[in-house]
């Protein structure tokens, strides 16, 4: 990239009561790549976040390297699970940190993308679940919307989601 720029397109902080999904719609096609950065908590037992592109949950595949409470493991699956959030049993008011990088999101080819998410439990290893993922969306449409939703319940208040556009000129 000769003259790259990193531009905040939109951001959302979850309000009182939480929300069951956050969507960035009408994403401009004027950037080269997209990056999403987030900080999320889910006050339920199962600490996962899912992604949809253009409202679709289909044709996703992933290969993950996990840190599950200090035990490494690897998984592969054909679903749209994306990241882990902090959960009900972790220290109150702790949030995860995750970022998703989507290169060439307007391409007419399938879209590969990556995720790195880490959870926090006030230095304890219990209930920690970190996920490093290599993902594929087998769809040729340009990505115009991105949604996140938790595996159950809501993203907690003060969870934040930010969408950035990366340009090469």
């Amino acid at each position: 990239m000769a003259n790259p720029t990193f531009t905040l397109i939109a951001s959302n902080t979850v309000g009182s009561g939480g929300v069951a999904s956050v969507t960035f719609s009408s994403i401009p096609a004027t950037y080269t790549d997209l990056m999403l950065k987030g900080s999320a908590r889910n006050n339920s037992t199962y600490p996962f976040g899912y992604v949809q592109f253009n409202g679709s949950s289909s044709n996703f595949q992933r290969i993950n390297l996990d840190n599950n409470g200090g035990t490494p493991a690897s998984y592969s699956a054909s679903d749209n699970l994306l990241f882990a959030t902090t959960q009900s049993v972790t220290t109150a008011n702790t949030f995860n940190s995750f970022d998703v990088y989507i290169p060439n999101y307007t391409s007419s080819n399938y879209k590969s993308f990556s995720v790195d998410s880490v959870t926090e439990n006030n230095d304890a290893t219990a209930a920690i679940l970190d996920i490093l993922g290599a993902n594929l969306w087998s769809n040729t449409s340009a990505i115009t919307s991105v949604s996140f939703y938790p595996s159950s319940s809501n993203f907690a208040q003060y969870s934040t989601f930010s969408l950035y556009g990366i340009s090469n000129s």
Binding site: V22, F24, S25, Y46
Partner: protein, 77 residues
């Protein structure tokens, strides 16, 4: 908290933020995701438990062979 789960949409062109109730289909999809998450979590926990059990068994066998605790610990450094 509202009785019906809420969805937030941020329009990146206009900046408009809208909040609406989840549709029945979206609620059903969340239920499917919850089950998938439970399955994934159970698999991850089972893997972690197996690794811990295998490690303890291996350490016990090494100890039975006469290795000291320090010697066993050195094997994993």
């Amino acid at each position: 908290m509202a009785d019906t789960p809420q969805a937030v949409e941020v329009n990146c062109e206009t900046g408009e933020v809208t909040t609406r109730d989840l549709t029945a289909d979206e609620i059903a999809a969340q239920a499917v995701a919850a089950q998938a998450a439970a399955d994934q979590k159970a698999a991850a926990d089972a893997e972690a438990a197996k690794v811990a059990a295998d490690k303890a068994a291996a350490q016990a066998k090494l100890a039975a062979l006469g290795l000291t605790a320090d010697e066993i610990a050195a094997l994993s450094k």
